[in-house]
């Protein structure tokens, strides 16, 4: 089987790159960092009540308002009072498990999100998934500076999205 292969620069046009830069700036957000910390610690969807209890800095209504803004900006996803994901992390199981050095595991929304976890956390991780065609297990150790070199033959599929499409975990 031959897949069409491209570099990231070939895959991302200037509009997408600009949107990514804006989202990167929006992620420099103290409330979002606290949500990520709770996600890493729990590895599961987080009821808003838990965040209100565990987040120390903002007042309760500030947490709710802040989460609503993050949801509106598609940086997290809130359903029925539960934060189900905060990109790159998913509270629900996906095809991408990230194993931390201390043994904790968490799920990410896609392969790129999983590979971004080591530089995000500044620590090595192991990404576990499987081939979506032949189901062979895939394990890739990733340091903050890059993946192991022993990854010959592994291809990351980057799907096309409409410009205004919200992201979501597909489980693939």
């Amino acid at each position: 089987m031959t897949l069409p292969m491209k570099t990231i620069d070939e895959l991302l046009d200037s509009a997408v790159a600009a949107r990514q830069a804006a989202r990167r700036a929006a992620r420099d957000n103290n409330l979002l960092r606290q949500v990520w910390r709770v996600f890493v610690a729990r590895g599961a969807p987080i009821p808003i009540e838990v965040l209100e209890r565990e987040l120390t800095a903002p007042a309760r209504q500030t947490v709710r308002d802040g989460l609503a803004r993050l949801d509106e900006d598609d940086l997290i996803m809130v359903q029925d009072g539960v934060v189900r994901l905060a990109y790159p992390l998913s509270g629900d199981p996906t095809a991408f498990t990230v194993r931390l050095p201390d043994g904790r595991t968490c799920f990410t929304c896609c392969a790129i999100d999983a590979l971004g976890m080591a530089p995000m956390l500044g620590q090595p991780v192991t990404v576990e998934s499987w081939c979506h065609h032949c189901a062979v297990p895939i394990r890739v150790r990733v340091d903050p500076e890059g993946p192991d070199t022993d990854i010959d033959g592994v291809v990351v599929w980057v799907g096309r999205r409409d410009p205004d499409e919200r992201r979501a975990c597909s489980g693939h």
Binding site: M1, L3, P4, M5, K6, T7, I8, E10, L11, L12, Q20, R23, R24, R27, D28, R33, W36, R37, V40, P88, A111, I112, D113, A114, L115, G116, M117, P119, M120, L121, G122, Q123, H132, H133, V140, V142, P144, G146, P147, I151, V154, V155, V156, W157, V158, G159, R160, H172
Partner: protein, 32 residues
């Protein structure tokens, strides 16, 4: 043939890592 049900293209793990680092790098280093 690509990812089931999607249009797109393949890229290497190294390229995908570079994009992941660009998006998320350094955002939660203090929890290390």
């Amino acid at each position: 043939m690509g990812h089931p049900g999607t249009e797109g293209a393949g890229t290497t793990v190294t390229e995908a890592f570079a994009l992941g680092r660009r998006i998320f790098g350094g955002l939660l280093v203090e929890t290390a």
